[in-house]
Symmetry: C2
Subunit: 198 residues, 2 copies
Amino acid sequence: MKELSSLDQMIEALRRLPGVGPKSATRMAYHLLQHDREGAQFLGNAMLNALQQIRHCGSCNTFTENAVCDTCADASRDTSILCVVESPSDQLMIEQTMTYKGLYFVLMGRLSPLDGIGPQDIYLDKLIRRATDGVVEEIVLATNFNNEGEATAHYIGETLKAKGLKVSRLARGVPVGGELEYVDPGTIARAILDRKST
Amino acid sequence: MKELSSLDQMIEALRRLPGVGPKSATRMAYHLLQHDREGAQFLGNAMLNALQQIRHCGSCNTFTENAVCDTCADASRDTSILCVVESPSDQLMIEQTMTYKGLYFVLMGRLSPLDGIGPQDIYLDKLIRRATDGVVEEIVLATNFNNEGEATAHYIGETLKAKGLKVSRLARGVPVGGELEYVDPGTIARAILDRKST
């Protein structure tokens, strides 16, 4: 099969994408070669271009082409509050709520000792430098509410509290529109413990 | 969002892959940028390289880097019989049975008028030239047994029979290991009609 090496390499390369197995990769390669050579060209160029252009924002650590990303460069944001999220997608979700006007720090992952992901992999040093710049007063931990996310929030929270910063976490409780009958007991238990006086 | 254009382009390019929507494309892009930059480089290069190197075999129409593919160049194959398949994957499945020693023609698709795929899109002219080279005696139609595959087999079969060639189709019937109780009635009906004397 020596003479198929370009095709084999193409399939092998597509398998590097998360969630793509050998069958999907083969289907993708055939599709591109047969029906969308322009798309393959676009994909190849976009990959190589992105690798050259994209780096981490010096301030919030998200992906950007500049030294500092759009959000961090926006002078209208509240610089005293910093929201810590796992990924740029999470940041985007929070932005879409239109209720948060502070800045962000994007961990690009979450602590997961079983997968070998430790504090250095979530840019903890960079976060500490960012959070202790003298301007930031409060850190909002907005990591996910699964095991790894909670552990990450706990670890970061303890570290930053030791530096004298105010640390908060997104509220947990019954979702908007939630009917108690269909909400899991753990969530209801948390909502009872965290009940608010009205 | 002007300054995210490289990232946006990367996500847009990944969406060109079949079966990849906006969420998957975003996840793939973040994964490559954060955890597998080498993979992104490999993918970019493999795409562009494949586009330059890969063309259709002059004889059987499959993807190859040479003028004629390995299988067609193999002098030990039976040149009097030509198996027509929809895709290189189908050819590979037939090769794995080790029961076919003839040559192939790969349509790279199937007739599908509703999708605008007509005879010119499945290289029918090339197939006719290949089949009427004076050496080929029998055509085995091995397109899929769904509606489009059957229609394609019928169309090609009629065209080639009109040229005086012997045309056959893969046998239909109860699969090996099949238990009648769990086989669909259509397949059993076909197996009764095509029953073989023993």
